[in-house]
């Protein structure tokens, strides 16, 4: 799934400019023409500015942008937004207010077909995408009559139907509450699998990212770096502040009567809620430090099923004077546990101590 190396036929970005007195936009990377690249970083780090520059909505003088060998901008030479083969779904306000949802979709479809001299999109195709996005009931309504989630799904349906070579998604789920977000996330995955395009996806959520991304553009103070290894970028193991780690495990068996599956971690077994992965596949577990507790002896009759033997390899006192983050080695993989200083004292934790970790919760992310 993850290609190694960079293709010159992808999206080439070379920008070095000042957005304002405080913020710069510096990038010199080439993204492959296929796959989902997450853009991850603090608010105000210039993520939207980058997408707007790629779309041709913000024009920076010191910029070189080309896509699939087509020059989009080289300093003053500039290809206008409507001539670029892209779709852009923003946080909100993705629909023209005077058109119904269906007219909004057709607006883009008609113009794209004219430009590419394609025949209009097949009716069957349209129906399929509308059904996939679950927006059959919204088509004849105006944007003011739609909920936030419906508007975003219409915008995503439009993006899917126009089949752009480049899809820019600027936190398309951020205006929604957590339940809605969880509902729409599968749609983004769907777009990723339906479109063999280059997708740039701005997000604040590590979980969304770990679930969707093939690579990640990390941005700090407007400075972008591309990484193909999203796990080590997102979950750096060497800092105590990283509360989440990714843990590889193999699906060993299903226990359908309990709704669980058995995962194998270096010969040890843990049980998690069955979320449909195939037996024999390798999954990544996202485990938060707060969901890991420690025990000196193997606990019996506990409600926590998931016990693994571990060795303490580092203790880091946290600045809050209350908690300590413990780095553990579990059969060669690393895991953080966050416990109180009081417990450290009680258990006389020290380097090299062998103990048991109990994993209270873990999410399968990929």
């Amino acid at each position: 799934m993850r290609e190694v190396g960079v293709s010159t036929s992808g999206l080439a970005l070379k920008i070095d400019c000042e957005i304002n007195a405080k913020l710069k936009l510096i990038i010199d990377e080439t993204l492959p023409a296929q796959g989902l690249c997450a853009i991850y970083g603090e608010s105000g780090a210039g993520k939207t500015s980058l997408l707007r520059a790629i779309a041709g909505l913000n024009i920076y003088s010191e910029a070189y942008i080309s896509f699939k060998g087509e020059l989009w901008q080289d300093g003053a030479r500039f290809k206008q937004t409507h001539k670029r083969n892209l779709a852009y779904v923003m946080q909100e306000a993705n629909l023209l207010p005077h058109l119904t949802a269906k007219q909004n979709i057709l607006f883009a479809l008609k113009r794209r077909n004219q430009r590419d001299q394609k025949s209009t999109c097949a009716n069957a195709d349209f129906q399929k995408v509308i059904e996939l996005m679950g927006v059959e009931g919204c088509l004849d309504r105006y944007p003011v009559q739609l909920s936030g989630g419906e508007k975003q799904r219409i915008a995503l349906a439009r993006a899917l139907l126009t089949k752009p070579d480049l899809l820019l998604l600027d936190e398309p789920l951020s205006a929604l509450d957590d339940n809605r977000k969880a509902e729409l996330l599968p749609y983004i995955e769907l777009i990723k699998s339906e479109l063999q395009s280059c997708i740039l996806y701005v997000t604040h959520s590590k979980r969304e990212l770990a679930k969707l991304a093939d690579r990640v553009l990390m941005v700090e103070q407007g400075r972008y770096t591309l990484s193909e290894d999203i796990y080590s970028s997102l979950f750096p193991r060497n800092t105590a502040l990283a509360k989440e780690v990714v843990f590889a495990a193999k699906v060993a068996a299903k226990e359908s009567q309990w709704g669980m599956q058995v995962l194998d971690i270096a010969g040890r077994q843990i049980r998690l809620k069955d979320s449909g992965e195939k037996i024999g596949s390798i999954v990544n577990l996202c485990i938060s430090a707060k969901d890991v507790s420690l025990s000196l002896e193997r606990p019996e009759r506990s409600s926590i099923l998931n016990l693994l033997p571990a060795t303490v390899i580092a203790l880091q006192e946290m600045p809050d004077d209350f908690s300590v983050d413990i780095l553990l080695d579990v059969s060669g993989q690393q895991l953080w546990a966050s416990i109180s200083r009081f417990s450290v004292q009680q258990m006389s934790l020290e380097l090299g101590l062998n103990l048991w970790v109990q994993i209270k919760a873990a999410a399968i992310v990929a």
């Binding site: 779309a55 909505l57 937004t81 409507h82 309504r141 009559q145």
Partner: protein, 223 residues
């Protein structure tokens, strides 16, 4: 009297159509800031404050047989009246059009561009529909204002029945000759038509979409 009514209606209709096009064109070609924009806007506002006779006087000078545009032979003709009306009513049409276009958020244009619409396409698919009410209000105001003008017409058109004798000029003449009964009829007609036009305009001067978002059921739900 019917002749004057028809002439007034013809003049107002023709001027309104011209005004909507001219006002839109001026707005589109005018730079959005800078000294030129200020100058042109100020010049276009002049008819609001100048006595109509002043505009009429200068127009007459330009159009008279001794004036620079004498060859056009427009003084004391219907065509001359149209030119005078267009100049005199321009601010009443320009302002509502300008305000309604300026009220359109830039994000709508960006959205249309992302969806593949070029500049001309955006004018027809975004500007016109979103500024529709501004255009309607401007047209009504321009029509009503042209119906009611008097000074400019008297200066450059004179009082030729069937050519330049519009309602307001006819009314003046009726009062001069002491035909108060006809003057009453004509005044009442002008008063009533102006009232109706302004009432109609108030329906469009507020944004349809402002109402729509404040009260989503305003238009009766889905159509």
């Amino acid at each position: 009297m019917l002749e004057a009514i028809l002439l007034s209606a013809k003049l107002a209709l023709l001027s309104t159509v011209l005004l909507v096009f001219i006002a839109t064109f001026i707005y589109l070609v005018l730079p959005k800031q800078g000294i030129l924009q200020n100058l042109v806007n100020t010049v276009m506002m002049l008819p609001l404050v100048l006595p109509p006779t002043v505009i009429g006087f200068y127009l007459l000078l330009f159009l008279s047989p001794q004036g620079p545009l004498a060859s056009w032979q427009l003084a004391f003709t219907f065509e001359g009246l149209v030119i005078g009306s267009v100049i005199y009513s321009l601010p009443f049409v320009y302002q509502p059009i300008r305000n309604s276009i300026m009220a359109i958020e830039n994000s709508h244009y960006e959205l249309a561009a992302i969806m593949g619409a070029g500049p001309l396409d955006r004018f027809f698919s975004v500007t016109l529909p979103l500024a529709k009410n501004g255009f309607i209000a401007a047209a009504i105001l321009g029509f009503a204002h042209t119906l009611g003008e008097f000074g400019v017409i008297l200066m450059i058109g004179g009082n030729i029945p069937g050519e330049t004798q519009v309602l307001s000029v006819l009314l003046y003449e009726l009062v001069e000759v002491g035909d108060y009964a006809s003057a009453h009829e004509l005044s009442a007609l002008l008063l009533l038509s102006s009232f109706c036009l302004l009432l109609l305009m108030s329906r469009f001067s507020e944004s349809w979409f402002a109402k729509e978002s404040a009260n989503p059921t305003f238009k009766g739900g889905r159509n």
